[in-house]
Symmetry: C2
Subunit: 191 residues, 2 copies
Amino acid sequence: MQVLKERILKDGKALDEHILKVDSFLNHQIDVTLMNEIGEAFKERFKEHKITKILTIESSGIAIACIAAQYFKVPVVFAKKTVSRNLDAQTYDSVVYSFTKQQHYTVKVSKRYLHNEDHVLIIDDFLANGKAAEGLLEIVEKAGATLEGVGIVIEKGFQEGGKKLRERNVKVESLAIIDKLGKDCIEFRDE
Amino acid sequence: MQVLKERILKDGKALDEHILKVDSFLNHQIDVTLMNEIGEAFKERFKEHKITKILTIESSGIAIACIAAQYFKVPVVFAKKTVSRNLDAQTYDSVVYSFTKQQHYTVKVSKRYLHNEDHVLIIDDFLANGKAAEGLLEIVEKAGATLEGVGIVIEKGFQEGGKKLRERNVKVESLAIIDKLGKDCIEFRDE
């Protein structure tokens, strides 16, 4: 997605060989106009699929999932990382490891909001080691729902998450795949 | 906002006299169509105001802030609750107490995304004791920005947050104000 790649080159910053900072438009400040272009791009890439629900994970997946959902005309469900008195007791759970935050956490989705007749598109801002996506896949499986695919804004192609998901025959659509990060260096995969 | 009140009566559930569960459409599963109606309602209520940025707090404020931002054509910034390697070192901070989660946490906004020329609309899903809103107000003040107002989806009118903000001459627009909660009882304030 050309406009996204140009924005990453203009406003993104590689902190080291692993971390790309895009918090000026994607995951702290959010450029809602760009999010709409991203939402349309996901709709285009999954236009042949019957989607009944978009599943994401708090916090940084929520913005893009909700904007994208407008193009699919379906509800969003976001997996919760924190325990709250508001959450149902009956949940589908998965344990996820965050490399960015260097900790394990349990993500939960109420059984009331994911069913075996659902056709699910998972959307997230980043795909790196794939731990969050695998956690969401596990929740989709536990619900007996059908996974239609995974839509990712930025995939770190030099990490194994995308490869692992594709080896499981998951349809992964990443709008920008970065093959190399480093000081003053952001290299995209040719598509 | 009539459609919102009807939805609260239809799908909301009072867990006790303090906690209203609306996670089927607002803060776990998200009805994006309703969010658009809510976004338009905020635009209508703040149409005389020059807004340059919408500020909210992760996680459950993000969905409504992003959908609403489309009507204001401005970026969203969400205050972060968790420390991440991705966050700038230079931040505006505020310590907030969550009654729902019964803990203090520090919320942070990068100094790069809030400036003294900004005119800020704070948006959140709930207003109860007002601790989150007060924390966001403090961040707006620290940035030297101008607060244009606070837009809330559901205000618990029987708690003191709304009253305290209005006593500080903050323009608070709540789309539904609940004056009484209890078993089989959700009473709205007349408007």
